[in-house]
């Protein structure tokens, strides 16, 4: 390796280290904030290390552990199912519209992109899902509406199949007389691992962070996922803190920070494990290592 390369690599390392630090610091601050005593936090502000340490905010949440446990469970189920369904639906569709020569391909692509611009709005969508599909107060309400796939994901997959996989691979198989279906299952799908991992990550994040579906399609609050519960806490703490009759004084500011930590923590813990697969997926995706 020549000098030029070493300099560039060193430079890359330095930049990435700085960027990583910038990405991480706010999280550190968040955790520190959630462990700060309320009055101190309000008077003196947050620090990277709590001036006065307190687990008050977490103790408040722990007192309702049934709520949180159930919400976690629901979020995990919904996210897992959502990823599986999302990939099963998005990958083949992206492959199909990437297939050159397919009659009607351009029209299909446009129809998919069109959905990015125009949608019927909340009322019409709500009416359709509740009146026609009776989705209300079921787990499907958290999975299906607006979440399974979207134009961006499909185009991302399409692009991958079109540009990142050498066309010669398909040509060779085609000459062997493989059917279009076999080409997808035997060639395309296995090669799609890196992009599938990317898709899984994106779908997973959007499912984990989603609270709109729960807001619209759930009346039964027992089915709330973790984000809906946290949204309820975030929007209600003001009312809660001022409610003299609730019998407990709420640390408003720090509870919000603690709630944020609780929402992000599982995904932060899960992500490195997922990353393992993600990196391997990317490496394997390279046609030649």
């Amino acid at each position: 390796m020549d000098r030029n390369h070493r300099v560039f690599r060193g430079f890359s390392n330095a930049v990435l280290a700085l960027v990583s630090l910038a990405a991480l610091l706010p999280f550190w601050l968040l955790i520190s904030a959630s462990l700060t005593e309320e009055t101190t936090a309000v008077k003196q502000g947050f620090r990277f290390l709590p001036q006065v340490f307190s687990t008050e905010a977490y103790r408040f949440m722990a007192s309702s552990w049934v709520l949180f446990g159930r919400a976690y469970l629901i979020s995990i189920i919904v996210t897992t199912l959502g990823i599986a369904i999302g990939i099963a639906v998005t990958l083949p569709l992206g492959y199909v519209i990437a297939r050159e020569g397919l009659p009607g391909r351009k029209v299909l692509t446009f129809l998919i992109i069109f959905t990015m611009m125009f949608n019927g709005g909340l009322v019409a969508t709500y009416l359709m899902y509740t009146v026609t599909f009776h989705i209300k107060d079921t787990l499907w309400a958290l999975i299906v509406p607006n979440m399974v796939t979207n134009a961006f994901f499909v185009i991302m997959i399409k692009n991958y199949f079109q540009y990142s996989i050498p066309k010669e691979l398909f040509e060779a198989t085609r000459i062997d007389g493989a059917s279009e279906f076999a080409m997808f299952t035997r060639i395309a799908a296995p090669l799609a691992k890196p992009i599938a991992a990317t898709l899984a990550l994106m779908t997973g994040v959007s499912y984990w962070n989603d609270w709109m579906n729960g807001l619209y399609y759930l009346d039964n609050q027992k089915l709330y996922g973790i984000q809906n519960l946290l949204n309820a806490i975030a929007t209600s703490t003001r009312y809660l803190a001022q409610g003299a009759g609730v019998g407990v004084r709420l640390p408003t500011e720090t509870v919000r920070m603690a709630a944020a930590v609780i929402a992000v923590l599982p995904i932060m813990i899960a992500y490195p494990f997922f990353q393992e697969y993600f990196v391997r997926g990317i490496t394997m995706g390279g046609v030649k290592e």
Binding site: T39, K43, Y216, A232, G245
Partner: protein, 509 residues
């Protein structure tokens, strides 16, 4: 034999039902148009239940307990439809849009009935209400507040609707530093010497909090105007109380408002007000609870009195009233009940509402749950309860957002409220001397000026809060820009429309 038994059983059932339903039968004439009582299946009344968005475990238990009373008395059962307080309006519109059954809808808190009527969410209930004796006697004149285009759409939930402004301050600090705050002033501005004294004493960082400019405490202008029935008065124009000609004006254009914002900026510069509230989004309440301020301005109503704020901030507070207590339509509708358009039996819904006001055990169940499980009585008091040891609203199994079901004077009250609170309620009524605004019962139909109102709303949202929080350095320039932007958004057209409608309404009175 079987047949005979069945017949006997049915007859017995009809007998008991008729006997129990007799007093309420008159309250719902549409349900019993025929002379002979018919046996009909009990009707399930779906009630919107406002909570914090966290599941209430014992909802089913409470439903059952209420049914034990309501079934024999009104042949109704109830079913709660919980909704988080922040989502209230949106959820109700969606339910109605999808034709989901909702009988009793909460039309106050974060919504207002005028808006719900305009959106087509509520149905008129005039006759049903007129035939409900308890509601009629309890609410009386206040029913006008829920009347739109000649029909009643919403019933006040609280019979003690007066509201005023007060400066609430730390009584312990006042004693310690010998600062004497008067019991009453005519205007917030009269408190300036007190603020100066507090600042000089160095007891607290700030004398008062103006909040983040979002809660309307300072802009209430010492309760010196009539908002004309609409809680969103800032866009529709108001009548100043010292004006006897019923002329609607843009409150932001008045000299009084101009003087007010200049003074607030002055206070900000002198360090009287909590400068952090605006940028940190803290409410007035936060500043006090966190010991940064000596006092704050609060709206005082029957439920939000000194005891309430004391409990809420955890600090000993005393009160200095500002201006006059008044009864406005907005205040009367603050917590109110309507019947959604998707109700199948509005008569049954109102019948249950009547029961809620007439039967204190139903109201207590709805408010606080079951004695011994969700609350315990406080010894030596007549009506005061508290949470069982180690319990609070979140872990006791039944904690709702509101405990104002039924007639508050008769139901339990939760600590920190006490028996004195019950005695104070009458002070918040017309009979108790509170002034009813001249426009009470008038409502503005904004259909013709929707476009202008939307633009005005955006202008007010942009300019108002920083001016009232005192954070604008060039207050004069910003103020002039505000007034000009309102003119550009054509507030004159809205005010003219409002004036025309008001004159027509006054003519019919």
């Amino acid at each position: 034999m079987k047949k005979a038994l069945a017949l006997l059983f049915a007859l017995a059932l009809i007998g008991t039902l008729a006997a129990c339903a007799a007093p309420t039968a008159t309250t719902a004439p549409t349900s019993a148009p025929t002379a002979t009582p018919t046996l009909e299946p009990p009707y399930e009344v779906v009630i919107e239940l406002i909570n914090y968005g966290m599941d209430i475990p014992d909802l089913g238990v409470i439903e059952q307990k209420v049914n034990e009373i309501s079934l024999p008395k009104t042949n109704t059962t109830i079913k709660f439809k919980p909704v988080a307080v922040a989502d209230q309006f949106m959820k109700l519109s969606l339910w109605v849009a999808a034709n989901e059954k909702v009988d009793l809808a909460m039309t106050g808190i974060t919504t207002n009935p005028g808006n719900l009527v305009a959106q087509g969410c509520l149905q008129p209930i005039t006759d049903l209400v007129h035939n409900s004796p308890t509601i009629m006697s309890l609410m009386g004149d206040y029913l006008a507040a829920g009347t739109f285009k000649g029909e009643i759409y919403a019933v006040p939930g609280i019979a003690y609707p007066a509201a005023g402004m007060s400066y609430l301050y730390r009584s312990d600090l006042a004693t310690q530093y010998s600062i004497t705050v008067p019991a009453h002033v005519n205007s917030l501005l009269d408190l300036e010497p007190i603020f100066a004294a507090v600042k000089a004493s160095g007891m607290a960082q700030y004398a008062t909090s103006l909040g983040d400019g979002k809660n309307q405490t300072t802009s209430m202008m010492d309760n010196s105007f009539d908002p004309l029935g609409d809680p969103s008065y800032e866009t529709n124009g108001v009548i100043m109380l010292n004006d006897t000609t019923n002329t609607i004006v843009d409150i932001f254009e008045t000299q009084a408002y101009h003087d007010r914002v200049l003074k607030l900026r002055d206070w900000y510069n002198k360090g009287y007000v909590d400068t952090l509230s605006y940028s940190n989004g803290y409410s007035t309440h936060d500043s006090l609870a966190n010991d940064t301020a000596f006092g704050f301005v609060a709206q005082i109503g029957a439920g939000s009195n000194v005891a309430y704020w004391t409990g809420s901030t955890g600090k000993p507070l005393a009160e200095c009233t500002i201006g006059e207590k008044t009864i406005s339509a907005g205040g009367a509708m603050n917590m109110s009940w309507g019947v959604a358009t998707t109700s199948e039996r509005p008569d049954k819904a109102i019948q249950f509402l009547e029961l809620m006001f007439s039967d204190v055990s139903v109201a207590n169940l709805l408010n606080y749950g079951i004695e011994g499980t969700h609350y315990v009585r406080v010894d030596g008091t007549t009506q005061v309860i508290r949470y069982p040891d180690g319990k609070n609203a979140f872990n006791c199994g039944y904690g709702t957002f509101i405990n104002w079901y039924g007639d508050t004077k008769k139901t339990w009250v939760m600590q920190p409220l006490d028996d004195k609170f019950i005695a104070s309620l009458d002070g918040f009524t017309k009979a108790g001397g509170a002034k009813m605004l001249a426009s009470f019962g008038y409502s503005f139909d904004s259909t013709n000026v929707k476009t202008e109102l939307t633009a005005i709303t955006a202008v007010v949202d942009q300019y108002r809060s920083p001016l009232e929080a005192g954070v604008v350095a060039d207050v004069e320039g910003q103020y002039q820009a505000f007034v000009q932007a309102l003119k550009d958004a054509n507030i004159a057209k809205v005010i003219a429309e409002n004036q025309t409608q008001l004159n027509a309404w006054l003519a019919t009175k």
